[in-house]
Symmetry: D2
Subunit: 276 residues, 4 copies
């Protein structure tokens, strides 16, 4: 099975045109999703199809029937390659490593980079290289440059921030546009920034949540992929909220990664279009 991804300005007849190209190439459509963002006048389509096709000519011919500036691509069939960035907390990383080992992540973890050395044992247990790049000594830009240098060497498809408690600089973010996924431990846009569980406790919320999102320049303001929630009550102190929250974070992050790694996500300004 192959997946064709199309994004372009909307106009009449796009579905007919694209499905015509696929038909001529002998592709048998198994599943099809389209979406038109009316406000932006933009068309999104994801088509799963069977049948041997000539990829290069399929993409070229599809592009030929579409408006100027169309983005057309075939999803790569092989697992994505990723680097995971961590700090002290183990729960999201542990979950990803188990999925990696059993092939249910749809991605291969090429390395884990930690600004602390605490999760080396867990990582290496799974046969994955762990790089400790301490954030304490050097100033922020020096540390970040070292992290980026290591990442550039590995050249992964995506970066996953699995409770990485450092704010990335605009330059770092710009180096991997729409390719950095973060799990924020609150129900964004509530409780942006530091200590969201303490903020949530003080506000007396009755539901907490976690948000997986793409990272952009603005802190915790990137396009949202997945949000999960959990009911809580007055008996939960800030610590209890954090403990309960960990399970939701783990759940939301792995859901979001599945969507991204299966090529189900388009960006639409600061929002996501997700065909699941």
């Amino acid at each position: 099975m192959a997946v064709l991804l199309v994004e372009c300005p909307d106009r009449r007849g796009l579905v007919h045109a694209i499905s015509g190209v696929l038909l001529r190439h002998g592709g048998n459509v198994v599943g099809n999703h389209e979406f038109v963002d009316r406000e932006a006048g933009r068309f999104y389509m994801r088509t799963e199809f069977d049948g041997l096709v000539d990829s290069t000519s399929l993409v070229a011919e599809t592009r030929a029937v579409l408006p100027e500036g169309a983005e057309v691509r075939l999803a790569r069939p092989d697992p994505k390659r990723i680097v995971v960035l961590v700090s002290r907390e183990h729960h999201c990383l542990g979950d990803l490593l188990v999925r990696h080992q059993f092939g249910t992540l749809n991605a291969r973890i090429d390395a884990v980079i930690g600004n602390h050395d605490l999760l080396r044992g867990l990582t290496e247990q799974f046969g994955v290289p762990f790089h400790h790049i301490p954030s304490e000594g050097p100033d922020r830009s020096v540390h970040e440059a070292a992290v980026l240098a290591r990442i550039v060497e590995i050249a992964p498809d995506f970066l996953v921030l699995a409770k990485y408690m450092r704010v990335l600089s605009p330059a770092f973010v710009a180096s991997h546009p729409a390719r950095i996924i973060n799990i924020h431990h609150s129900f964004l846009p509530a409780f942006v920034g530091a200590k969201p569980y303490l903020q949530a406790f003080r506000r007396g919320v009755k539901v907490i949540g976690a948000t997986a999102h793409f990272v952009t320049d603005e802190l915790d303001a990137g396009p949202i992929l997945v949000q999960q929630v959990l009911p809580v009550d007055h008996t939960h102190g800030a610590e209890d909220l954090a403990r309960a929250g960990r399970d939701v974070e783990q759940f939301a992050l792995s859901q979001a990664l599945r969507l991204v790694f299966e090529d189900r996500v388009f960006l639409c300004g600061n929002r996501t279009v997700i065909f699941d």
Copy 2:
């Protein structure tokens, strides 16, 4: 905006063929959903489009490009006409009457029929006729015949069982195939039949639910439209479960009716395909 609904055996090129017909008629596709049931080899499509079209020729030409036995129709733009059947409980009916009055139900309640007379006041308050057809005296078939006669007179598009506590005969069900919607006060297929909340209490469940479904011959076994759940705990007796359940029933029924009345539901054997 108009809605084209297509259901037929699956084969290569259907999307291309149908979108071609629409394009020739000047229809501008606004939203499109397709689904292929692989097991049954069946294709389902729902297309929302703008643009003035000749309905009769659009349907005829669409049918012409599809396999034998295709079902093609344009959704009627006007609100559905319904009859609501009730017994003693008011909560689902109350919710439907409010939505009816403010035009948010996408349907017009032509009449309410009760086997008890308790909900006459509520119904007539909203200017809707209430027919009391007592179920006590006569045997079941006599009562049912009287109810059916009244319904046949009104000739509604759909029957809604809003906590109607009578089991319908196969003949009654056959008179309105895929046009009777029931709300069952449990998370089907758990707790089929009578007193589901008592059954749920005895089983010690930690979540209760409600199920809106089409009615078929087999009790509580028809195609499911919507299921909603609510967490509960050991402090909930059977009565408390019933009380909590009422809010979920009301919620699930109104959601299901919206889906049906907006022509978003196809039947696929004993399952539903819902394009929302």
Copy 3:
């Protein structure tokens, strides 16, 4: 069954002392909830008990065994009396009126006050007086004074803002401390203020919610009673979010009112302690 409510500074032996008073009065404890807020050093207790007791002496004797400044009261057995404030939207009011009529609200709606006249019909249908106090002509303080005057006449136990789209002045709020309940159409503290669904759409959230809370001086910042959520996706425009949100608002508000009207809620600074 009666309900004893106690709130006081925490100290050793409170449960023993209070349960001793109840025992001496012949009260048979049916259910008991306690909570100690460690940060504030404050003790909360709600006890349901059977058995005929002398209320005045029970309260006095309970107070006698507690620290200075303890608040002790027996919940009144009769339904609360409320006034509902509305603007244009009918869904929350409709739900409350149905519950009022069938005695499942645990409260009596003495009047509905609208700054528009649109919901008069719905209200009067249920035999409840509707007062239209237009907000257009006069300046805000004049309008508010008129509303408050009408409320003072009725002297209700609680005010319910059922989609009342006016911001209350501090003076108004101070006139009914911890007695005004609002339904906010977002998952607070996200999207405070106006047009939360438009804000939510622009932020691209994957879950929307509604928050029922007590009203305080600070806009949308009062103690939270209930939060409910609903998953959404990229196909939901701002209008769709608003429509979906209405069902959650209705659900959250009626849940919150049940908790308040059954005397299950304590205030603990800006948070609520809810014994359900």
Copy 4:
């Protein structure tokens, strides 16, 4: 902090009597839960308290003020010791091993026993012994005896069936009453027995779930600890339901284990009383 657990026939004055004993021992109550099952006439209480107490005399004196047949115990402060039984699926085991390693499971996994050898690598990676006891050759009773012999040697507090696909004999179950916890991959009591996801697919449900429960003689009918759900739709085949279900299973099992291992669960006939 210590935890006192009491269960006995209900009678007037129990809370007062027990809190009096604690007070005399210098215990400072931090949290307190009681519940009376009216139908069974049974009283349950869980009290968290600070302060150095003489455990033996506290338990003895508490028992002295309670009715005949009261069960009184202090929760052991040390982590529980458990054995995990598995078959082929790794996801629940992986989650437990990560929590075990980082001390967030409140239990120590003393061994994993598999009727297949597939999860040896994962288990041993975490430094936990793995015992492969094949179920293919011998008849069921021989296999079970071998498993039981190994367990008896280890003498754990609890057995956790983490997707263990074998039905235990009544004798096995009787050997560890209320000490075997299973995760069933459906929303019990729906879809008891084999292939629940295929059953769920055929029934066309719109929500799937997982149930963590104590194991009793009757298949999938033991007291329920935790139920979790996930919405699904017509695009989910049986395989997709199984995949989605795995995340919910993992979540429900770890939640249930936390409740059991923190001594928050009482049995009440075939139901659970859970103080969380």
